[in-house]
């Protein structure tokens, strides 16, 4: 009986990595930033709500450590206009430095 049911309903195993998996869309993913909407003040607020050490700032750059990001969504809550989920989950890297991203801060300078 269970065998027939299995035939009827098909295979449950994902085809990933050969094909994409539909459940990937529902995963929490690290944020992507809109440089035109970022100002230094806004970035400072985002840094203060970040529970880890994922965000840091120099004079005109947001330093985003993807490896330290817990995808909690805190920065997206305080700055929904500047932050959007990246949708990327295939983030494994063979160098730690590859996970540190420089985002230009372009807002408020025009």
């Amino acid at each position: 009986m269970w065998f027939a049911r299995g035939l009827r309903r098909g295979v449950v195993t994902t085809r990933y990595p050969a094909r994409s998996d539909s459940s990937a869309a529902a995963l929490p993913t690290p944020p992507a930033f809109r440089p035109g909407e970022l100002t230094r003040e806004l970035v400072d607020v985002m840094i203060s709500v970040c529970p880890g050490t994922a965000l840091d700032r120099t004079a005109d750059t947001l330093v985003f450590d993807v490896g330290a990001c817990t995808a909690c969504g805190g920065c997206a809550q305080v700055a929904p206009q500047a932050v959007t989920p990246s949708g990327e989950f295939e983030l494994a890297a063979t160098a730690r430095s590859a996970l540190i991203k420089m985002i230009p801060i372009r807002g408020g300078q025009r």
């Binding site: 995963l27 992507a32 809109r34 330290a68 817990t70 990246s86 989950f89 494994a92 590859a98 991203k101």
Partner: protein
């Protein structure tokens, strides 16, 4: 190893050898160095029917002496340092160390008298898998990268969203 002009060529050669050796069957030993156990839940899910990592030739082993890959979670508490080193030294070469989760990558705890704060402070990490926790799909991708079967995507990602909300 001394860095030399042919270092890149050596790294490429090593990568090919790892892919040739580990391409079909790889045994994984997990090591919890003080994680909250959510990474372990996601790792356990890899063996569930939906992800079924055995179809890809990956297997879990309870003994580091049988393992090719050390999947390390947690911020490496100092009390665990000796055990972590022993587990690494007990593994036969060639061996791969994969740091898993934001704690292991140094994003949650700072180095203090109780924790090192990152796995790389104690063990030579080869692959970093971000996430809190990394989903089973992210872990599968990380294992694929570790054995040279899947390509890395991270170096080409910018995390800059353009106007219509697309990353890259």
């Amino acid at each position: 190893m001394k860095p030399g002009p042919d270092e890149t060529a050596t790294a490429e050669e090593l990568r090919k050898r790892i892919a040739a050796q580990f391409g079909r069957s790889l045994h994984i030993r997990t090591l919890d160095t003080g994680s909250c156990a959510v990474c372990e839940q996601e790792i356990r899910l890899l063996a569930a029917p939906h992800y079924d990592l055995h179809r890809l030739g990956f297997f879990f082993t309870p003994a580091p002496r049988h393992a090719d890959l050390l999947l390390v979670t947690g911020p490496m508490v100092r009390a665990f340092e000796l055990a972590a080193r022993k587990a690494y030294e007990a593994m036969p070469g060639p061996k791969v160390v994969v740091a898993t989760g934001a704690c292991a990558l140094g994003g949650v705890y700072q180095s203090d008298p109780f924790v090192h704060g990152e796995v790389d402070a104690v063990l030579p990490v080869d692959v970093w898998i971000p996430g809190c926790p990394p989903s089973p799909l992210a872990l599968l991708h990380g294992l694929g990268v570790a054995v040279g079967r899947l390509a890395e995507k991270t170096p080409s990602l910018t995390f800059v969203a353009d106007g219509d909300g697309n990353a890259r």
